[in-house]
């Protein structure tokens, strides 16, 4: 039990003044989505501008509230705004209420800020798409749902946003509806998310049955009343929801497939914001996880498995977006590991989430820019030597790359290394195993990202001898300003965000009213400095090996076959799809077939048999109705005689 943290919980005030305008945050993008969906073709000419404007306006509102809140004393920074009673159902009373506190404001700024940049980028990226207005409508829908997710003051609001972002994600992954692979990927994402959503829903049900409330403040204040077993169950179910949404083991395999969507979608939804919702969930429920050490342990284990798995698979892919996708899986694994550490890691996880939001969005936008110049090709084996043809893309991508691999004094160096150090600072075997694996994954990260950069931007210009999939020659060119400017802004974030956020624990102090003070850990087996140096050395080693393997040798245009079994396994996603197929999908199909058989032969057999029996019998029985009055009279007489005989038999037979 960690009572000191509960004592630190600030009082909740009713939102007034600027904070009272928080509803605008949601209403603005919702208005944009509504207009763009309903106005149809009429708004094709200006739809993208409205889409951008509403999100930028929402960002301005968020920034105003943030600056206002920053001016308040830390214990006054949490306020709630009840808009109306949403679900008044007997004992279940759910408000449509907003919770404005440091954690939700941080997310609001990330979502609307990165969202604005990616909206602007999409103007250029989607120029040639006839459905651009619909695309912006769906992006606005996503922003609305994501804001509801982070700003709601109860679990039902969270669930509303949770499902909303799931819907938007489904629509946008399947954007290229004419491609069967995109349709399949969208379905896969939706179904695997559903598995996680069931966990989240069950966790909410459990809290409701045991505590009779779904509001954060009340749930967190009374979490101590629950038995340890119930709390553990809630922790695991919430984690299941987080795993589904954030692409964590064992539900990670939908995220790489989600790269079928347009690249801005990959950057916004599947790198910067939506997939971090799981991290938000765990951080938001920190009072619940604080009470359950076992729950936190499970979170760290899942995070460690995922960060390693994503890094290993990332080394084997040739698809530039899929490498970045597995990198995202791996980095969210780091965040999960951090928030699983409890009070020692919540703020670190959120810090990495923010810096990752910057550099991974920048990397995806860079990849999109490369694809834009390379006829939408994604195979890195067809690239090479693009640095000179796309200087801005190269520089911004390069800065994102350095930030991701944890190059000293860039964002990732501060946020990721802090997580590795915190993981290694755990007492006993946990520190050794988790810290060690996180360091190893940092080395792998350096390897696959270096491989990606070398294959794309350096070396031989392999595309000169090739034809694009659409039959034209490649003409790599720099992207328009609407695409490069967001990339430049994000590159600034990649460079400076880490330093600004972690310097003298700025972010941790800001988040303290929600997440509690950043706790120090004691009893570590590995010393902090050795971990820091080890991480740097392993990352350097990763870069070196990548240079020796990829940079010094010519890259084949087609995949080398056959390869050693670890590469083979990594190329097949460490058999995640095969395992899902064998353990879930195929038994499910068998069960469905068996049920269809039972239904056809059994249930339908009984029903149809009864009908046939009745129909056949009555078909024969109606022949008795001959139309001859005398035969009716005879049957009446016979019947009467029978009845009288029966009556007489009863009357006199029993005596």
């Amino acid at each position: 039990m960690s009572t000191p943290l509960l004592a630190a919980t600030p009082q909740v005030e009713a939102a007034t003044g600027v904070t009272g305008l928080a509803w605008l945050l949601i209403v603005l993008p919702a208005f944009g989505a509504l207009v763009l969906f309903l106005a149809g073709r009429r708004s094709d000419a200006w739809g993208h501008l409205l889409g951008c404007l509403t999100v930028v306006a929402s960002f301005v509102v968020g920034l105003t509230i943030f600056l206002h809140t920053l001016g308040l004393a830390p214990e006054q920074r949490t306020s709630e705004l009840n808009l109306y009673r949403w679900i008044p159902a007997n004992a279940l009373q759910v408000d449509f209420g907003l919770r404005i506190d440091p954690l939700s404001l941080t997310f609001v700024l990330l979502i609307t800020g990165v969202g604005s940049l990616i909206h602007i980028y999409s103007i250029g990226y989607m120029t040639h798409d006839p459905g651009r207005r619909r695309f912006f409508a769906q992006l606005n829908l996503f922003i609305t749902a994501m804001l509801i997710l982070v700003i709601g003051n109860n679990f039902v609001m969270l669930y509303l946003g949770w499902e909303g972002v799931g819907l938007a994600s489904y629509l946008l992954i399947g954007w290229y509806q004419d491609r069967p692979s995109a349709a399949t990927a969208a379905k896969k994402a939706f179904l695997m998310n559903r598995v996680g959503d069931v966990g989240l829903a069950l966790a909410i049900f459990l809290l409701w049955t045991d505590l009779g409330t779904v509001q954060y403040t009340q749930v967190f204040a009374r979490i101590g009343e629950l038995s340890p077993g119930t709390v553990l169950a809630v922790c695991v179910l919430l984690l299941l929801g987080a795993c589904g949404k954030s692409g964590q083991f064992p539900l990670q395999s939908w995220l790489p497939d989600a790269m079928e969507g347009p690249t801005p979608v990959s950057a916004l939804i599947h790198a910067a914001t939506m997939v971090t919702a799981g991290v938000y969930l765990v951080a938001r429920c920190n009072p619940i996880y604080d009470v359950s050490a076992n729950g936190r342990l499970i979170v760290t284990i899942i995070g460690t498995i995922t960060l390693l798995l994503g890094a290993i698979i990332g080394c084997a892919y040739d698809d530039i977006k899929k490498v970045l996708a597995y990198s995202t899986v791996s980095q969210i694994g780091y965040m999960m590991l951090a928030v699983g550490l409890g009070p020692a890691g919540y703020a670190l996880g959120i810090a990495h989430l923010l810096t990752h939001g910057f550099f991974k969005a920048g990397l995806f936008l860079g990849a999109g820019s490369v694809m834009h110049g390379m006829n939408d090709d994604v195979n890195m084996r067809h690239f090479g030597g693009l640095a000179r043809h796309m200087p801005i893309t190269f520089v911004t991508f390069g800065l994102g790359y350095l930030a991701l691999i944890g190059f000293p004094f860039l964002s990732g160096y501060y946020s990721k290394d802090a997580i590795i150090e915190a993981a290694a600072a755990q007492p006993g075997w946990r520190g050794l195993v988790m810290g060690g694996l996180a360091m190893l994954a940092a080395g792998l990260t350096a390897f696959y990202m270096t491989r990606l950069v070398i294959m794309t931007f350096f070396g031989e210009k392999r595309w000169q001898k090739l034809k694009a999939p659409d039959g034209h020659d490649y003409h790599p060119h720099e992207s328009p300003a609407s695409m490069t400017i967001p990339m430049i802004i994000l590159a600034f974030g990649s460079v400076f965000a880490g330093f600004l956020l972690t310097q003298s624990h700025t972010l941790a102090g800001w988040l303290a009213p929600t997440l509690g003070e950043l706790a120090e850990q004691h009893g570590a087996t590995l010393s902090e400095s050795s971990v820091a140096v080890g991480t740097l050395v392993l990352s350097g080693l990763g870069v070196l090996i990548a240079y020796l393997l990829v940079g010094r040798q010519p890259t084949p245009v087609t995949r080398p076959e056959p390869v050693a079994w670890p590469v083979q396994a990594a190329r097949r996603d460490l058999y995640a799809n095969a395992i899902n197929e064998a353990l879930i999908a195929r038994p499910g199909t068998w069960l469905a077939r068996a049920l269809v058989y039972v239904d056809n032969k059994g249930v339908d057999g009984i029903v149809n048999g009864m009908a046939a029996l009745l129909g056949g019998t009555s078909g024969r029985m109606r022949r008795l109705q001959t139309g001859f009055v005398r035969s009716y009279a005879l049957s009446m007489l016979g019947g009467t005689v029978l009845i009288i005989a029966a009556l007489l038999a009863v009357r006199f037979g029993t005596q």
Binding site: R622, R623, Q625, T626, G627, F628, V629, R630, A633, L634, L637
Partner: protein, 99 residues
């Protein structure tokens, strides 16, 4: 004269009527046989009223007569109209209402 004879007579009359209804084809004859059965029952009712010394059976017999009179009116009208349309009074010819 014991009442039993009246009952025997009424049973005979009823049987004759029932057999007549079943074996004759002419609608008028069938109709008369039905009347015979009704009156056989009337005789039974009156006899039992006499045996028990109560008036219930006699009252019931009056009811039967009234109903029989009404039935004759309707029944004869139907037979008449069937005869007019089909030129036949055989009950076996009027067999359109069947399966």
């Amino acid at each position: 004269m014991t009442p039993t004879y009246y009952l025997l007579l009424s049973a005979m009359l009823f049987s004759i009527g029932a057999v007549g209804v079943l074996v004759r084809r002419n609608a008028i004859v069938v109709f008369m046989c039905v009347e015979l059965m009704l009156n056989a029952v009337n005789l039974t009712l009156v006899t039992f009223a006499r045996i028990n010394g109560q008036l219930d059976g006699q009252v019931m017999a009056f009811f039967v007569m009234v109903v029989a009179a009404a039935e004759v009116v309707v029944g004869l009208a139907i037979i008449m109209s069937i005869f007019r349309t089909r030129r036949s009074s055989s009950v076996d010819d009027a067999n359109l209402l069947k399966y």
